[in-house]
Amino acid sequence: MQVPAPFEYERATSVDHAISLLERLGGTARLIAGGHSLLPMMKLRLANFDYLIDINDLHGELGYVEAGPDEIRIGALTRHRELLESPVLAAAFPIFADAERVIADPVVRNRGTLGGSLCQADPSEDLSAVCTTLDARCVIRGPGGAERVVSMEDFHVGPYETAVADDEILVEIRLPVRPGCGSAYAKVERRAGDWAVVSAGAAVWLDGGAIVDARVGLAAVGPNTTGIPAISAALRGQEPSESLYEQAGAIAADSCDPVTDQRGSADYKRHLAAELTRRTLRRAVERARS
């Protein structure tokens, strides 16, 4: 048994209560939701916090998937399993179910949350790539109920670093809904449940035969999950085709910045960035058309 350093434990009863605790305890405290990244790090003593604030009781307040006319709103404490099983997401953004099927295992998915995944800000994390692909907006609440909304690009400020301040909580993720959308996710892993060697999400919006907009998000090929504006620019206004996917793949390979590690060489990861970009775009277009 690996044992963490000593810490104190508080259970938040409301979002405002959690924020007030954070205000008081500051950087010595950490929120815990699913805990599947935080607890292993604490057991290995790679992360040491004086206080853990357990927000699992806030699931009633922060666990939801709600469809509006222009956007889908997802509470930050929505569990992986709920995302996987959500009919709203299945209809609008099948990329979620694609990704959830390859995230960890059912035990982790029963417990882990969307907000926790994003706040962990692991460069290999799948839902960050999904949210990047879908141009998600992150709603952050601070003392006094003040809310601010940031893009995924602004949310992740570095590996394991987010825009959420010590006295703030990520409360909601908003996904803009536009017509003609298709989306898909693909991941290469060394073993089921492992972090991605590389993964890619793609979303396209078609009008008639042409691509109105397209977005690709990659994980594990840079300091943060990466959206690639150049692909969007190259695809807008074009008819989907294999050569277009090739072009997008080439841009993906050029735009990313992978490193060699136990999961694979930088060259291989660059190759995967291209391969998975092609595959997910192809799939997203098929879905947009069907």
Binding site: P6, P40, R191, R263, Y268, L276
Partner: protein, 796 residues
Amino acid sequence: MTTVHERVDTFHDNDQKPVGYGRMLRKEDPRFLRGRGRYVDDVQLPGMLHLAILRSPVAHARIVSIDTSAAEASPGVKAVVTGAMLAQQNLAWMPTLSNDVQAVLATDKVRFQGQEVAFVVAEDRYAARDALELIDVEYDVLDPVIDARRALESDAPLIRDDLDGKTNNHCFDWETGDEAATEAVFARADVVVSQDLVYPRVHPAPMETCGAVADYDAVDGKLRLWSTTQAPHAHRTLYAIVAGLPEHKIQVISPDIGGGFGNKVPIYPGYVCAIVASIVTGKPVKWMEDRSENLISTGFARDYIMRGEIAATRDGRILGIRTNVLADHGAFNGTAAPVKYPAGFFGVFTGSYDIEAAYCKMTAVYTNKAPGGVAYACSFRITEAVYLVERIVDCLADELGMDPAELRLKNFIQPEQFPYTTKTGWVYDSGNYEPTMRLAMEMAGYDELRREQAEKRARGELMGIGIAFFTEAVGAGPRKDMDILGLGMADGCELRVHPTGKAVVRLSVQSQGQGHETTFAQIVAEEIGIPPADIEVLHGDTDNTPFGLGTYGSRSTPVSGAAAALVARKVRDKARIIASGMLEVSVADLEWEKGAFHVAGDPGRSVTIQDIALRAHGAGDLPEGIEGGLEAQICYNPSNLTYPHGAYICVVDIDPGTAQVTVRRFIAVDDCGTRINPMIIEGQVHGGLTDGVGMALMEMIAFDEDGNCLGASLMDYLIPTSLEVPDWETGFTVTPSPHHPIGAKGVGESATVGSPPAIVNAVVDALKPFGVRHADMPLTPSRVWDAMRGQARPPI
């Protein structure tokens, strides 16, 4: 020699059979399934303290100073012990199982990352762990030796300066076979193929990590030690020798063990620390290592850098096999192998083939890595040997343009050649290889698979078919050839039948999940006719079981299985005499049917084994010269190893875009002689095949250039799950061992030995369109992609 071969779907359900061999559910499983197993970490004793070990953060450094004062002052801490303190008691170093020495706690230098430096004993595990952070060690960091290929370079840092006169990192040299004869065969061969191969360092990674609870009673001088050991009796004797404690005052208890795979054969410093801590504090002390400690410091496996060479005629007759091996033994030679076999049983690298000459030259070196050597279901290095031969036979098939199945069939040792003495001196007891191979090919639909492959290749799809055929050598001794630190490899068994006809069997071997409580009950049941449910199997407690060398190298059934059968026959012989008295006939007039003796020609006049047991303990007269009671004891010294064999066929698909390998099918036909409980055998095979997928595709203990272990958690050291493996297709043939009392051979490691080459052969076969002839494990997507681009490279 009789060989029976059947498809596994000829379901041998022996529920109708009152006793003996056949499928039956495992007697131990209700305990495990209901959470009632009792493992070392479940042991709770009054006043028990907890021990945590401080480990070296660097691979090679001189210890300048250790300050323990802050740790000693930490709340709940009872003792802090360093190597210097152990040295005062002459306990800082201990012998390894290979006549080397290993530091219990480092005194002069640390020699691998994770080496034990000091320990803390405290009131609970948290306090002990927290206090480790307060020990201040000053290290003078030295250059490490990480690449075994460079260990013998003249400017390589000297690791073992603790050994008198040691000036380099050489560990040992070993050779086998006939060098000149092999050279002659190679010189006249039409075809010679040579291939460099690496079997990377892997780890057994048992579910339960290693640990111990030591309880030394200063009043009666008795040490009770619960520990995760596969060899409780051998450990007891070694503790007596090392610590100077009298052997009768040491009780080693190995309770339920959560997987061993060889990882729990050695004596680890942690066990010794727990004993010292209990003596020092006068309290019971528990030490359980955590997952990272297990992965970075305990017995690893493999780490062989090999060159294989094979010589053959143009028409595919294999003439000779030659190999040169560089073995990385880490910082201390902790190999757990019979003393006369420093390379284990690697000498069986000639495989299942009738060849003219063979030769192996091996050099072993020290490096700044965790010690160990033989661990992990390898049958003492047969895993490496089988991988070598089965890989280079495939290379030869490729060179000759021959089908790999055909090449193997052409070169098999023939059934009439058994017992067969190999060119490296091993005497294979029995075998009939072709039917096993043919059955595997039939189950696989081999010809159809080749047709499918041809069609797929034409479409640019990557499909591979890999074959491995292995001969294992399991069941060490005999004692004259095989010993561990002077302890002969033989095993005891004791059988006691109670008055009501229930029985208890006591074994010297120790289960780590193999199902001994069921298998050994079945062996005794088959011989004596008492149902397995009425037979209690006890093991793992040195005060209550006969002496023996323990469970590893698939030796339980070959050695203790024989002992159990023979002890039961001994009891049956006595029962016959008692029965003759009860039925008032001569012994010669009695016939045995399972469970009862009856008068020949008069089946109505019979007594059951239960009747006899009652008489043996009862008030009635017994025949002249017969003592009361119905029990016997034996120590079985095997006359030879047993040599199971098997044919494995693996089918893989590779995604050409991502280079991911999927094991689509795996056909495993095993021949382990007489089959006692087919369900348990299949379970063993399934586990071993899964191991094989892990080693072939993902597992490797890697180090960076500074000697940092890169596989220190199960997030970094990947082991396969059910999602990486196909539905196993198992079959069997039966070629009994001629020298084993019931014809059984071992099977525990067969699948771990045989599956990696089958998988690698399949991947290489799939990559043939890219001109690939070899790619080293682990075949991760990245490494397969390298191979597809002609850039296959060794993993180390």
